[in-house]
Protein backbone atom coordinates (compact mmCIF):
# COMPACT_ATOMS: atom_id res chain seq x y z
CA UNK A 1 0.00 0.00 0.00
CA UNK A 2 1.24 3.44 -0.89
CA UNK A 3 1.93 6.02 1.76
CA UNK A 4 -0.31 8.45 -0.09
CA UNK A 5 -2.88 7.59 -2.72
CA UNK A 6 -4.76 10.30 -4.48
CA UNK A 7 -7.66 9.13 -6.55
CA UNK A 8 -9.75 11.27 -8.87
CA UNK A 9 -9.08 14.43 -6.90
CA UNK A 10 -11.02 17.50 -8.00
CA UNK A 11 -10.97 20.97 -6.52
CA UNK A 12 -13.42 23.73 -7.32
CA UNK A 13 -13.57 27.34 -6.21
CA UNK A 14 -17.21 28.24 -6.56
CA UNK A 15 -18.21 26.93 -9.96
CA UNK A 16 -14.71 26.94 -11.37
CA UNK A 17 -13.09 23.55 -11.22
CA UNK A 18 -9.36 24.20 -11.20
CA UNK A 19 -8.26 20.61 -10.60
CA UNK A 20 -10.14 17.90 -12.40
CA UNK A 21 -9.85 14.21 -11.57
CA UNK A 22 -6.18 13.88 -10.79
CA UNK A 23 -4.74 10.61 -9.45
CA UNK A 24 -1.28 9.73 -8.20
CA UNK A 25 0.48 7.96 -5.40
CA UNK A 26 3.67 8.27 -3.39
CA UNK A 27 5.55 5.54 -1.55
CA UNK A 28 7.83 5.84 1.43
CA UNK A 29 11.32 6.81 0.43
CA UNK A 30 10.17 7.74 -3.06
CA UNK A 31 9.76 11.04 -4.85
CA UNK A 32 6.92 12.06 -7.10
CA UNK A 33 7.61 15.07 -9.28
CA UNK A 34 4.61 17.13 -10.35
CA UNK A 35 5.40 19.32 -13.34
CA UNK A 36 3.44 21.74 -15.41
CA UNK A 37 3.30 25.40 -16.30
CA UNK A 38 2.18 27.93 -13.77
CA UNK A 39 -1.56 27.71 -13.13
CA UNK A 40 -1.88 24.03 -14.00
CA UNK A 41 -3.16 23.17 -10.52
CA UNK A 42 -0.03 21.76 -8.87
CA UNK A 43 -0.24 23.86 -5.71
CA UNK A 44 -3.99 23.60 -5.38
CA UNK A 45 -3.85 19.78 -5.61
CA UNK A 46 -1.32 19.49 -2.81
CA UNK A 47 -2.88 22.20 -0.62
CA UNK A 48 -6.09 20.20 -0.92
CA UNK A 49 -4.29 17.12 0.38
CA UNK A 50 -3.02 19.12 3.36
CA UNK A 51 -6.48 20.51 4.05
CA UNK A 52 -5.13 24.01 3.58
CA UNK A 53 -7.60 25.26 1.00
CA UNK A 54 -10.24 27.51 2.40
CA UNK A 55 -13.48 27.98 0.57
CA UNK A 56 -12.80 25.23 -1.96
CA UNK A 57 -14.83 22.12 -2.53
CA UNK A 58 -12.62 19.05 -2.68
CA UNK A 59 -13.89 15.74 -4.03
CA UNK A 60 -12.32 12.38 -4.77
CA UNK A 61 -10.20 10.41 -2.40
CA UNK A 62 -6.93 10.99 -0.60
CA UNK A 63 -5.71 8.12 1.54
CA UNK A 64 -2.73 8.72 3.72
CA UNK A 65 -1.31 5.63 5.41
CA UNK A 66 -4.70 3.98 4.92
CA UNK A 67 -6.73 6.87 6.28
CA UNK A 68 -9.17 8.85 4.14
CA UNK A 69 -8.42 12.57 4.32
CA UNK A 70 -11.12 14.00 2.06
CA UNK A 71 -14.01 14.87 4.31
CA UNK A 72 -12.00 14.09 7.46
CA UNK A 73 -12.68 16.43 10.39
CA UNK A 74 -10.63 19.63 10.26
CA UNK A 75 -9.21 18.81 13.66
CA UNK A 76 -7.90 15.46 12.44
CA UNK A 77 -6.18 17.07 9.46
CA UNK A 78 -4.69 19.70 11.72
CA UNK A 79 -3.17 17.06 13.96
CA UNK A 80 -1.55 15.41 10.92
CA UNK A 81 -0.22 18.65 9.49
CA UNK A 82 3.28 19.40 10.62
CA UNK A 83 3.43 16.06 12.39
CA UNK A 84 3.12 13.46 9.63
CA UNK A 85 2.43 15.63 6.58
CA UNK A 86 4.68 18.62 6.04
CA UNK A 87 4.96 21.25 3.39
CA UNK A 88 7.55 23.79 2.32
CA UNK A 89 6.98 26.65 -0.05
CA UNK A 90 8.53 28.66 -2.80
CA UNK A 91 9.48 31.88 -1.07
CA UNK A 92 11.21 31.03 2.18
CA UNK A 93 11.41 34.63 3.37
CA UNK A 94 7.73 35.47 3.24
CA UNK A 95 6.94 31.94 4.43
CA UNK A 96 8.70 32.60 7.72
CA UNK A 97 7.22 34.93 10.31
CA UNK A 98 9.38 38.07 10.42
CA UNK A 99 8.86 38.65 14.15
CA UNK A 100 9.86 35.29 15.61
CA UNK A 101 13.31 33.74 15.75
CA UNK A 102 13.87 30.74 13.51
CA UNK A 103 14.39 28.64 16.63
CA UNK A 104 10.99 29.62 17.98
CA UNK A 105 9.37 28.87 14.64
CA UNK A 106 10.91 25.42 14.38
CA UNK A 107 10.19 24.61 18.01
CA UNK A 108 6.56 25.66 17.72
CA UNK A 109 5.35 22.62 15.80
CA UNK A 110 7.48 20.27 17.89
CA UNK A 111 6.04 21.59 21.14
CA UNK A 112 2.55 21.24 19.78
CA UNK A 113 2.71 17.78 18.27
CA UNK A 114 5.18 16.12 20.61
CA UNK A 115 3.85 17.84 23.72
CA UNK A 116 7.44 18.82 24.40
CA UNK A 117 8.53 21.46 26.87
CA UNK A 118 9.84 24.78 25.62
CA UNK A 119 13.38 23.72 26.46
CA UNK A 120 13.24 20.32 24.79
CA UNK A 121 11.63 21.87 21.72
CA UNK A 122 14.34 24.49 21.55
CA UNK A 123 17.01 21.77 21.71
CA UNK A 124 15.20 20.00 18.90
CA UNK A 125 15.21 23.21 16.85
CA UNK A 126 18.95 23.59 17.33
CA UNK A 127 19.48 19.96 16.40
CA UNK A 128 17.39 20.35 13.24
CA UNK A 129 19.23 23.51 12.21
CA UNK A 130 22.47 21.54 12.46
CA UNK A 131 20.87 18.69 10.56
CA UNK A 132 20.00 20.91 7.60
CA UNK A 133 23.53 22.24 7.47
CA UNK A 134 23.29 25.62 9.15
CA UNK A 135 26.59 26.49 10.81
CA UNK A 136 26.58 27.54 14.49
CA UNK A 137 22.99 26.35 14.93
CA UNK A 138 22.78 27.21 18.62
CA UNK A 139 23.54 30.85 17.97
CA UNK A 140 21.54 31.08 14.75
CA UNK A 141 18.44 29.59 16.36
CA UNK A 142 18.09 32.87 18.23
CA UNK A 143 18.17 34.98 15.07
CA UNK A 144 15.26 36.22 13.00
CA UNK A 145 14.65 35.11 9.39
CA UNK A 146 15.80 38.38 7.82
CA UNK A 147 19.34 37.61 9.01
CA UNK A 148 19.52 34.50 6.79
CA UNK A 149 20.28 34.22 3.09
CA UNK A 150 17.70 32.77 0.71
CA UNK A 151 19.21 29.30 0.72
CA UNK A 152 19.62 29.32 4.49
CA UNK A 153 15.99 30.34 4.91
CA UNK A 154 14.89 27.40 2.81
CA UNK A 155 17.03 25.19 5.04
CA UNK A 156 15.20 26.67 8.01
CA UNK A 157 11.88 25.83 6.34
CA UNK A 158 13.08 22.28 5.78
CA UNK A 159 14.20 22.01 9.40
CA UNK A 160 10.77 23.23 10.47
CA UNK A 161 8.97 20.79 8.20
CA UNK A 162 11.01 17.81 9.33
CA UNK A 163 11.26 18.56 13.07
CA UNK A 164 8.48 16.12 13.91
CA UNK A 165 9.81 13.46 11.53
CA UNK A 166 6.87 13.41 9.12
CA UNK A 167 6.20 10.61 6.64
CA UNK A 168 5.47 12.86 3.70
CA UNK A 169 7.05 16.11 2.60
CA UNK A 170 5.36 18.25 0.00
CA UNK A 171 7.82 20.71 -1.49
CA UNK A 172 6.08 23.37 -3.60
CA UNK A 173 8.73 24.88 -5.87
CA UNK A 174 11.28 24.96 -3.04
CA UNK A 175 14.17 26.04 -5.24
CA UNK A 176 12.44 28.37 -7.68
CA UNK A 177 13.39 31.52 -5.76
CA UNK A 178 17.01 30.46 -5.31
CA UNK A 179 20.01 30.82 -7.56
CA UNK A 180 21.40 27.80 -9.35
CA UNK A 181 24.20 26.68 -7.03
CA UNK A 182 21.99 27.09 -3.99
CA UNK A 183 19.22 25.16 -5.79
CA UNK A 184 21.56 22.22 -6.21
CA UNK A 185 22.54 22.31 -2.54
CA UNK A 186 18.93 22.35 -1.38
CA UNK A 187 18.04 19.44 -3.64
CA UNK A 188 21.01 17.48 -2.32
CA UNK A 189 19.93 18.24 1.21
CA UNK A 190 16.38 17.06 0.53
CA UNK A 191 17.70 13.85 -0.99
CA UNK A 192 20.00 13.20 1.94
CA UNK A 193 17.19 13.78 4.44
CA UNK A 194 14.92 11.56 2.38
CA UNK A 195 17.22 8.59 2.67
CA UNK A 196 17.82 9.34 6.34
CA UNK A 197 14.16 9.60 7.29
CA UNK A 198 12.62 7.39 4.60
CA UNK A 199 10.44 10.31 3.54
CA UNK A 200 7.92 10.19 0.78
CA UNK A 201 8.27 13.40 -1.21
CA UNK A 202 6.09 15.30 -3.62
CA UNK A 203 8.27 17.74 -5.50
CA UNK A 204 6.29 20.40 -7.30
CA UNK A 205 8.15 22.34 -9.92
CA UNK A 206 7.88 23.86 -13.35
CA UNK A 207 11.58 23.06 -13.78
CA UNK A 208 12.05 19.74 -15.53
CA UNK A 209 15.70 19.76 -14.54
CA UNK A 210 14.71 19.44 -10.89
CA UNK A 211 12.40 16.53 -11.65
CA UNK A 212 14.99 14.77 -13.78
CA UNK A 213 17.37 15.05 -10.91
CA UNK A 214 15.37 13.73 -8.00
CA UNK A 215 12.00 12.26 -9.01
CA UNK A 216 11.26 8.54 -9.23
CA UNK A 217 7.87 9.15 -10.79
CA UNK A 218 6.49 12.07 -12.72
CA UNK A 219 3.03 13.52 -13.07
CA UNK A 220 2.69 16.08 -15.84
CA UNK A 221 -0.25 18.39 -15.30
CA UNK A 222 -1.95 20.61 -17.82
CA UNK A 223 -5.03 22.73 -17.23
CA UNK A 224 -5.89 21.04 -13.94
CA UNK A 225 -5.67 17.54 -15.40
CA UNK A 226 -3.05 14.83 -15.64
CA UNK A 227 -1.48 14.76 -19.11
CA UNK A 228 1.02 11.99 -18.51
CA UNK A 229 2.12 9.93 -15.58
CA UNK A 230 4.97 7.43 -15.47
CA UNK A 231 8.32 6.54 -14.02
CA UNK A 232 10.74 9.39 -14.40
CA UNK A 233 13.11 7.50 -16.72
CA UNK A 234 10.29 6.72 -19.15
CA UNK A 235 9.05 10.26 -19.26
CA UNK A 236 12.47 11.67 -20.00
CA UNK A 237 13.56 8.96 -22.45
CA UNK A 238 10.33 8.62 -24.28
CA UNK A 239 7.70 11.27 -23.58
CA UNK A 240 4.38 10.35 -25.16
CA UNK A 241 2.09 13.27 -24.56
CA UNK A 242 2.59 16.15 -27.01
CA UNK A 243 2.64 18.54 -24.04
CA UNK A 244 5.38 16.58 -22.27
CA UNK A 245 7.30 16.44 -25.53
CA UNK A 246 6.93 20.18 -25.85
CA UNK A 247 8.11 20.75 -22.30
CA UNK A 248 11.16 18.57 -22.80
CA UNK A 249 12.01 20.19 -26.10
CA UNK A 250 12.08 23.57 -24.42
CA UNK A 251 14.75 22.58 -21.90
CA UNK A 252 18.39 22.22 -22.94
CA UNK A 253 20.08 18.87 -22.34
CA UNK A 254 17.00 16.98 -21.24
CA UNK A 255 15.25 14.07 -22.90
CA UNK A 256 15.40 13.42 -26.59
CA UNK A 257 13.84 16.67 -27.71
CA UNK A 258 17.24 18.22 -28.04
CA UNK A 259 18.75 15.38 -30.05
CA UNK A 260 15.73 15.02 -32.27
CA UNK A 261 15.15 16.51 -35.72
CA UNK A 262 15.42 19.96 -34.24
CA UNK A 263 19.10 19.29 -33.70
CA UNK A 264 19.46 20.79 -30.26
CA UNK A 265 17.33 23.81 -31.01
CA UNK A 266 15.02 24.80 -28.19
CA UNK A 267 11.37 25.05 -29.04
CA UNK A 268 9.03 26.65 -26.58
CA UNK A 269 5.38 25.60 -26.74
CA UNK A 270 3.52 28.40 -28.50
CA UNK A 271 0.72 30.21 -26.67
CA UNK A 272 -0.19 30.33 -23.02
CA UNK A 273 -1.83 27.85 -20.66
CA UNK A 274 -5.58 28.40 -20.25
CA UNK A 275 -7.24 29.93 -17.19
CA UNK A 276 -9.61 27.69 -15.24
CA UNK A 277 -12.54 29.96 -16.05
CA UNK A 278 -11.87 29.42 -19.74
CA UNK A 279 -10.68 25.83 -20.07
CA UNK A 280 -11.30 24.78 -23.68
CA UNK A 281 -13.56 21.79 -24.32
CA UNK A 282 -12.12 18.45 -25.37
CA UNK A 283 -8.40 18.14 -24.76
CA UNK A 284 -7.44 21.27 -22.87
CA UNK A 285 -4.13 21.32 -24.73
CA UNK A 286 -5.64 21.31 -28.21
CA UNK A 287 -5.36 25.06 -28.96
CA UNK A 288 -1.59 24.77 -28.52
CA UNK A 289 -1.08 21.26 -29.85
CA UNK A 290 0.71 20.92 -33.17
CA UNK A 291 -0.68 17.44 -33.85
CA UNK A 292 -4.29 17.98 -32.77
CA UNK A 293 -7.11 16.20 -34.60
CA UNK A 294 -10.71 17.33 -34.96
CA UNK A 295 -11.82 15.06 -32.16
CA UNK A 296 -9.39 16.80 -29.79
CA UNK A 297 -11.55 19.92 -29.74
CA UNK A 298 -14.64 18.06 -28.63
CA UNK A 299 -13.76 14.90 -26.74
CA UNK A 300 -11.77 14.76 -23.57
CA UNK A 301 -9.03 12.12 -23.94
CA UNK A 302 -9.03 9.55 -21.13
CA UNK A 303 -5.90 8.86 -19.13
CA UNK A 304 -5.03 5.37 -20.34
CA UNK A 305 -2.29 2.88 -19.76
CA UNK A 306 -0.77 0.84 -16.95
CA UNK A 307 3.00 1.28 -16.59
CA UNK A 308 2.60 4.68 -18.10
CA UNK A 309 -0.53 6.70 -18.46
CA UNK A 310 -1.16 9.25 -21.19
CA UNK A 311 -4.22 11.37 -21.87
CA UNK A 312 -4.08 11.88 -25.62
CA UNK A 313 -6.24 10.77 -28.53
CA UNK A 314 -3.15 10.07 -30.54
CA UNK A 315 -1.41 7.97 -27.87
CA UNK A 316 0.25 5.03 -29.63
CA UNK A 317 0.38 6.79 -32.98
CA UNK A 318 3.05 9.34 -32.27
Amino acid sequence: MSLLSVDNLSVAFGRVRVVDGVSFSVDRGRTLGIVGESGSGKSVSTLAIMGLLRGASVTGSVTFDGEELVGAPAERLRSLRGARLSMIFQDPLSSLHPFYTVGEQIAEAYRLHKKASRKVAHERAVEMLGEVGIPAPRRRAREHPHRFSGGMRQRVMIAMALACEPDLLIADEPTTALDVTVQAQILELIQRLQSEYGLGIIMITHDLGVVARIADDVLVMYGGRAAERAASARVFDDPRHPYTQGLLASVPGLGRGTEGPGGGRLRAIPGNPPLPSAFPPGCRFHPRCSVALDICATEQPALLGTVRQVACHREGEL
Partner: protein, 327 residues
Protein backbone atom coordinates in the same frame (compact mmCIF):
# COMPACT_ATOMS: atom_id res chain seq x y z
CA UNK B 1 19.54 52.53 20.24
CA UNK B 2 20.48 54.96 23.03
CA UNK B 3 22.49 57.01 20.57
CA UNK B 4 19.52 56.95 18.24
CA UNK B 5 17.15 58.06 20.99
CA UNK B 6 19.47 60.88 22.00
CA UNK B 7 19.79 62.02 18.41
CA UNK B 8 16.05 62.00 18.05
CA UNK B 9 15.66 63.98 21.27
CA UNK B 10 18.07 66.55 19.87
CA UNK B 11 15.97 66.76 16.74
CA UNK B 12 12.85 67.18 18.84
CA UNK B 13 14.45 70.09 20.70
CA UNK B 14 15.21 71.70 17.37
CA UNK B 15 11.69 71.16 16.09
CA UNK B 16 10.27 72.65 19.28
CA UNK B 17 12.45 75.72 18.84
CA UNK B 18 11.22 76.20 15.29
CA UNK B 19 7.58 75.74 16.29
CA UNK B 20 8.09 78.17 19.13
CA UNK B 21 9.57 80.76 16.79
CA UNK B 22 6.83 80.34 14.20
CA UNK B 23 4.03 80.59 16.74
CA UNK B 24 5.68 83.57 18.31
CA UNK B 25 5.99 85.26 14.93
CA UNK B 26 2.36 84.60 14.08
CA UNK B 27 1.20 86.20 17.30
CA UNK B 28 3.46 89.14 16.74
CA UNK B 29 1.97 89.67 13.30
CA UNK B 30 -1.62 89.31 14.47
CA UNK B 31 -3.54 92.56 14.87
CA UNK B 32 -4.66 91.54 18.37
CA UNK B 33 -2.98 93.51 21.10
CA UNK B 34 -2.89 91.59 24.35
CA UNK B 35 -2.23 94.81 26.20
CA UNK B 36 -5.60 96.12 25.11
CA UNK B 37 -7.38 93.35 27.01
CA UNK B 38 -5.19 93.71 30.03
CA UNK B 39 -5.71 97.45 29.96
CA UNK B 40 -9.40 97.09 30.62
CA UNK B 41 -12.49 99.08 29.69
CA UNK B 42 -11.53 102.61 30.51
CA UNK B 43 -8.32 102.46 28.57
CA UNK B 44 -6.51 105.62 27.62
CA UNK B 45 -3.56 105.64 25.28
CA UNK B 46 -1.27 106.63 28.14
CA UNK B 47 -2.49 103.76 30.27
CA UNK B 48 -2.13 101.40 27.31
CA UNK B 49 1.49 102.44 26.88
CA UNK B 50 2.06 101.78 30.57
CA UNK B 51 0.52 98.35 30.32
CA UNK B 52 2.54 97.57 27.23
CA UNK B 53 5.64 98.60 29.04
CA UNK B 54 4.72 96.58 32.12
CA UNK B 55 4.08 93.50 29.97
CA UNK B 56 7.33 93.96 28.11
CA UNK B 57 5.45 94.34 24.83
CA UNK B 58 7.32 97.48 23.90
CA UNK B 59 10.55 95.51 23.54
CA UNK B 60 11.81 94.45 20.08
CA UNK B 61 10.29 91.09 19.09
CA UNK B 62 13.61 89.30 19.14
CA UNK B 63 14.26 90.45 22.69
CA UNK B 64 10.80 89.27 23.67
CA UNK B 65 11.41 85.92 22.04
CA UNK B 66 14.78 85.41 23.69
CA UNK B 67 13.44 86.34 27.09
CA UNK B 68 10.56 83.90 26.52
CA UNK B 69 13.05 81.14 25.71
CA UNK B 70 15.32 81.83 28.62
CA UNK B 71 12.26 82.00 30.86
CA UNK B 72 11.43 78.41 30.00
CA UNK B 73 14.72 77.26 31.44
CA UNK B 74 15.57 79.89 34.02
CA UNK B 75 12.35 81.66 34.82
CA UNK B 76 12.01 85.40 34.46
CA UNK B 77 10.39 88.54 35.69
CA UNK B 78 7.67 89.76 33.36
CA UNK B 79 8.44 93.14 31.84
CA UNK B 80 8.61 95.76 34.54
CA UNK B 81 5.52 94.46 36.29
CA UNK B 82 7.64 92.83 38.94
CA UNK B 83 5.64 89.62 38.45
CA UNK B 84 7.82 86.60 39.01
CA UNK B 85 7.41 83.62 36.72
CA UNK B 86 9.40 80.62 37.89
CA UNK B 87 10.99 78.14 35.48
CA UNK B 88 9.64 76.60 33.42
CA UNK B 89 8.03 79.89 32.50
CA UNK B 90 5.80 79.75 29.42
CA UNK B 91 4.63 83.28 29.85
CA UNK B 92 1.87 84.71 31.97
CA UNK B 93 -1.84 84.74 31.33
CA UNK B 94 -3.25 88.15 32.23
CA UNK B 95 -6.66 86.63 31.63
CA UNK B 96 -6.27 84.07 34.40
CA UNK B 97 -3.71 86.10 36.32
CA UNK B 98 -1.54 83.01 36.48
CA UNK B 99 1.65 81.71 34.91
CA UNK B 100 0.76 79.65 31.83
CA UNK B 101 2.70 76.63 33.09
CA UNK B 102 0.53 76.40 36.21
CA UNK B 103 -2.57 76.54 34.04
CA UNK B 104 -1.23 73.81 31.79
CA UNK B 105 -0.31 71.54 34.68
CA UNK B 106 -3.66 72.14 36.25
CA UNK B 107 -5.52 71.10 33.10
CA UNK B 108 -3.26 68.28 32.00
CA UNK B 109 -4.74 65.83 34.51
CA UNK B 110 -8.19 66.25 32.99
CA UNK B 111 -6.99 65.83 29.42
CA UNK B 112 -4.82 62.85 30.35
CA UNK B 113 -7.78 61.19 32.10
CA UNK B 114 -9.94 61.82 29.06
CA UNK B 115 -7.34 60.60 26.57
CA UNK B 116 -6.32 57.49 28.52
CA UNK B 117 -9.86 56.25 29.15
CA UNK B 118 -10.96 56.92 25.59
CA UNK B 119 -7.83 55.25 24.23
CA UNK B 120 -8.42 52.04 26.18
CA UNK B 121 -12.02 51.97 24.99
CA UNK B 122 -11.36 52.62 21.35
CA UNK B 123 -8.38 50.32 21.18
CA UNK B 124 -10.27 47.38 22.65
CA UNK B 125 -13.46 48.00 20.68
CA UNK B 126 -11.70 48.98 17.47
CA UNK B 127 -9.27 46.09 17.39
CA UNK B 128 -11.82 43.49 18.45
CA UNK B 129 -14.46 44.55 15.94
CA UNK B 130 -11.87 45.02 13.20
CA UNK B 131 -10.55 41.55 13.91
CA UNK B 132 -13.99 39.99 13.83
CA UNK B 133 -14.78 41.73 10.55
CA UNK B 134 -11.48 40.62 9.00
CA UNK B 135 -11.88 36.99 10.06
CA UNK B 136 -15.41 36.86 8.67
CA UNK B 137 -14.64 38.95 5.62
CA UNK B 138 -17.61 39.33 3.32
CA UNK B 139 -20.10 38.04 5.88
CA UNK B 140 -23.13 39.94 7.15
CA UNK B 141 -21.28 40.66 10.38
CA UNK B 142 -18.38 42.15 8.43
CA UNK B 143 -20.67 44.36 6.40
CA UNK B 144 -22.53 45.50 9.49
CA UNK B 145 -19.31 46.44 11.27
CA UNK B 146 -17.83 48.22 8.27
CA UNK B 147 -21.05 50.13 7.67
CA UNK B 148 -21.41 51.32 11.26
CA UNK B 149 -17.74 52.29 11.31
CA UNK B 150 -18.31 54.32 8.19
CA UNK B 151 -21.36 56.00 9.67
CA UNK B 152 -19.51 56.90 12.86
CA UNK B 153 -16.52 58.30 11.01
CA UNK B 154 -18.74 60.57 8.98
CA UNK B 155 -20.51 61.85 12.12
CA UNK B 156 -18.81 64.99 13.43
CA UNK B 157 -17.67 64.80 17.03
CA UNK B 158 -20.03 67.55 18.17
CA UNK B 159 -22.96 65.58 16.82
CA UNK B 160 -21.99 62.50 18.82
CA UNK B 161 -21.45 64.62 21.90
CA UNK B 162 -24.73 66.48 21.41
CA UNK B 163 -26.68 63.24 20.98
CA UNK B 164 -25.15 61.76 24.12
CA UNK B 165 -25.82 64.89 26.13
CA UNK B 166 -29.37 65.08 24.89
CA UNK B 167 -30.34 61.44 25.35
CA UNK B 168 -28.29 60.44 28.37
CA UNK B 169 -28.17 63.61 30.42
CA UNK B 170 -31.14 65.76 29.44
CA UNK B 171 -33.74 63.19 28.36
CA UNK B 172 -32.69 60.05 30.16
CA UNK B 173 -31.33 61.81 33.21
CA UNK B 174 -29.07 58.81 33.59
CA UNK B 175 -26.07 60.95 34.42
CA UNK B 176 -25.63 64.43 35.82
CA UNK B 177 -23.91 66.99 33.67
CA UNK B 178 -20.15 66.29 34.00
CA UNK B 179 -18.59 67.79 37.08
CA UNK B 180 -14.98 66.80 36.88
CA UNK B 181 -13.23 65.56 40.04
CA UNK B 182 -9.66 64.28 40.14
CA UNK B 183 -9.55 60.48 40.26
CA UNK B 184 -7.80 60.41 43.62
CA UNK B 185 -10.35 62.72 45.24
CA UNK B 186 -13.47 60.97 44.09
CA UNK B 187 -13.10 58.02 41.71
CA UNK B 188 -16.84 57.58 41.18
CA UNK B 189 -17.34 61.20 40.21
CA UNK B 190 -14.26 60.98 38.02
CA UNK B 191 -15.77 58.12 36.04
CA UNK B 192 -19.22 59.67 35.98
CA UNK B 193 -17.89 62.91 34.56
CA UNK B 194 -15.74 61.20 31.95
CA UNK B 195 -17.84 58.33 30.74
CA UNK B 196 -19.73 60.25 28.05
CA UNK B 197 -16.66 62.15 26.81
CA UNK B 198 -14.83 58.80 26.69
CA UNK B 199 -17.60 57.29 24.62
CA UNK B 200 -17.65 60.31 22.32
CA UNK B 201 -13.96 60.17 21.58
CA UNK B 202 -13.83 56.39 21.51
CA UNK B 203 -16.66 56.26 18.98
CA UNK B 204 -14.77 58.67 16.80
CA UNK B 205 -11.48 56.83 16.94
CA UNK B 206 -12.81 53.26 17.19
CA UNK B 207 -14.34 53.62 13.76
CA UNK B 208 -10.94 54.41 12.32
CA UNK B 209 -9.28 51.58 14.23
CA UNK B 210 -11.88 49.12 13.07
CA UNK B 211 -11.11 49.91 9.47
CA UNK B 212 -7.40 49.93 10.11
CA UNK B 213 -7.40 46.62 11.99
CA UNK B 214 -9.65 45.02 9.43
CA UNK B 215 -7.52 46.06 6.47
CA UNK B 216 -4.27 45.19 8.19
CA UNK B 217 -5.54 41.83 9.41
CA UNK B 218 -6.91 40.84 6.01
CA UNK B 219 -3.54 41.67 4.49
CA UNK B 220 -1.65 39.76 7.17
CA UNK B 221 -3.84 36.66 6.95
CA UNK B 222 -3.01 36.43 3.24
CA UNK B 223 0.73 36.32 4.01
CA UNK B 224 2.58 33.12 3.17
CA UNK B 225 3.80 32.83 6.77
CA UNK B 226 0.20 32.43 7.90
CA UNK B 227 -0.09 29.49 5.50
CA UNK B 228 3.11 28.14 7.04
CA UNK B 229 1.60 28.45 10.51
CA UNK B 230 -1.42 26.46 9.35
CA UNK B 231 0.81 23.93 7.60
CA UNK B 232 2.48 23.31 10.97
CA UNK B 233 -0.87 22.21 12.31
CA UNK B 234 -1.30 25.09 14.73
CA UNK B 235 -4.84 25.61 16.01
CA UNK B 236 -6.58 28.45 14.20
CA UNK B 237 -6.67 30.51 17.39
CA UNK B 238 -2.87 30.40 17.61
CA UNK B 239 -2.58 31.21 13.92
CA UNK B 240 -4.80 34.27 14.32
CA UNK B 241 -3.47 35.61 17.60
CA UNK B 242 0.19 34.65 17.69
CA UNK B 243 0.96 34.90 13.99
CA UNK B 244 -1.72 37.21 12.59
CA UNK B 245 -2.44 39.75 15.30
CA UNK B 246 1.21 40.21 16.12
CA UNK B 247 1.91 41.61 12.66
CA UNK B 248 -1.38 43.45 12.46
CA UNK B 249 -0.71 45.43 15.63
CA UNK B 250 2.46 47.02 14.28
CA UNK B 251 0.87 49.63 12.01
CA UNK B 252 -1.89 50.16 14.55
CA UNK B 253 0.60 50.93 17.26
CA UNK B 254 2.12 53.73 15.19
CA UNK B 255 -1.14 55.48 14.67
CA UNK B 256 -2.16 54.85 18.25
CA UNK B 257 0.92 56.56 19.65
CA UNK B 258 0.39 59.62 17.50
CA UNK B 259 -3.35 59.80 18.24
CA UNK B 260 -2.69 59.54 21.93
CA UNK B 261 -0.02 62.25 21.76
CA UNK B 262 -2.46 64.52 19.96
CA UNK B 263 -5.27 63.83 22.40
CA UNK B 264 -3.12 64.52 25.44
CA UNK B 265 -2.92 68.09 24.28
CA UNK B 266 -6.66 68.22 24.58
CA UNK B 267 -9.74 67.23 22.68
CA UNK B 268 -10.98 70.73 22.13
CA UNK B 269 -14.53 70.09 20.99
CA UNK B 270 -15.23 67.23 23.37
CA UNK B 271 -13.88 69.01 26.41
CA UNK B 272 -15.72 72.18 25.54
CA UNK B 273 -19.04 70.47 24.94
CA UNK B 274 -18.88 68.51 28.16
CA UNK B 275 -17.46 71.43 30.09
CA UNK B 276 -14.38 69.47 31.11
CA UNK B 277 -11.67 71.81 32.35
CA UNK B 278 -8.90 70.26 30.28
CA UNK B 279 -6.31 71.62 27.91
CA UNK B 280 -8.73 71.56 25.01
CA UNK B 281 -11.23 73.74 26.80
CA UNK B 282 -8.41 75.99 27.97
CA UNK B 283 -7.32 76.42 24.37
CA UNK B 284 -10.84 77.02 23.16
CA UNK B 285 -11.38 79.74 25.76
CA UNK B 286 -7.94 81.22 25.20
CA UNK B 287 -8.50 81.51 21.45
CA UNK B 288 -11.83 83.20 22.07
CA UNK B 289 -10.20 85.74 24.34
CA UNK B 290 -6.96 86.10 22.37
CA UNK B 291 -5.07 84.91 25.42
CA UNK B 292 -1.90 84.52 23.41
CA UNK B 293 0.47 83.23 26.10
CA UNK B 294 -1.94 80.37 26.82
CA UNK B 295 -2.40 79.50 23.14
CA UNK B 296 1.35 79.58 22.69
CA UNK B 297 1.88 77.36 25.72
CA UNK B 298 -0.71 74.80 24.60
CA UNK B 299 0.71 74.78 21.09
CA UNK B 300 4.16 74.01 22.41
CA UNK B 301 2.86 71.33 24.75
CA UNK B 302 0.87 69.71 21.95
CA UNK B 303 3.88 69.74 19.66
CA UNK B 304 5.99 68.22 22.41
CA UNK B 305 3.48 65.43 23.05
CA UNK B 306 3.18 64.58 19.40
CA UNK B 307 6.91 64.53 18.72
CA UNK B 308 7.58 62.53 21.87
CA UNK B 309 4.80 60.08 21.00
CA UNK B 310 6.44 59.66 17.62
CA UNK B 311 9.75 58.86 19.24
CA UNK B 312 8.22 56.37 21.67
CA UNK B 313 6.42 54.66 18.79
CA UNK B 314 9.60 54.45 16.74
CA UNK B 315 11.50 52.96 19.66
CA UNK B 316 8.69 50.47 20.34
CA UNK B 317 8.77 49.49 16.69
CA UNK B 318 12.27 48.17 17.23
CA UNK B 319 11.03 46.00 20.07
CA UNK B 320 8.13 44.63 18.04
CA UNK B 321 9.77 44.24 14.67
CA UNK B 322 13.26 42.75 14.79
CA UNK B 323 13.95 43.88 11.23
CA UNK B 324 13.99 47.51 12.34
CA UNK B 325 17.50 48.84 12.77
CA UNK B 326 18.12 52.26 14.21
CA UNK B 327 20.46 54.28 12.09
Amino acid sequence: MIVYALRRLGAIALIMLVICAITFAIFYLLPDDPALDACGKSCTSARLADVRHAMGLDQPVLTQFLSYLSGIFAGRTLGTSGLDCAAPCFGYSWQYASPVWDLLLDRLGVSASLAAGAAVLWLVVGVLLGLMAALRKGSLLDRGIVLSALATTSAPVYLIAALLIYFVILQGELLPFPDYQPVLDNPAAWVASLILPWITLAALYAAMYIRLTRASMIETMAEPYIRTARAKGLPERTVVVKHGLRSTMTPILTIFGIDLGGLLAGAMITETMFGLPGLGKLTFDAIGKSDQPVVLGVTLLAALFITLANLVVDLLYGVIDPRVRYA
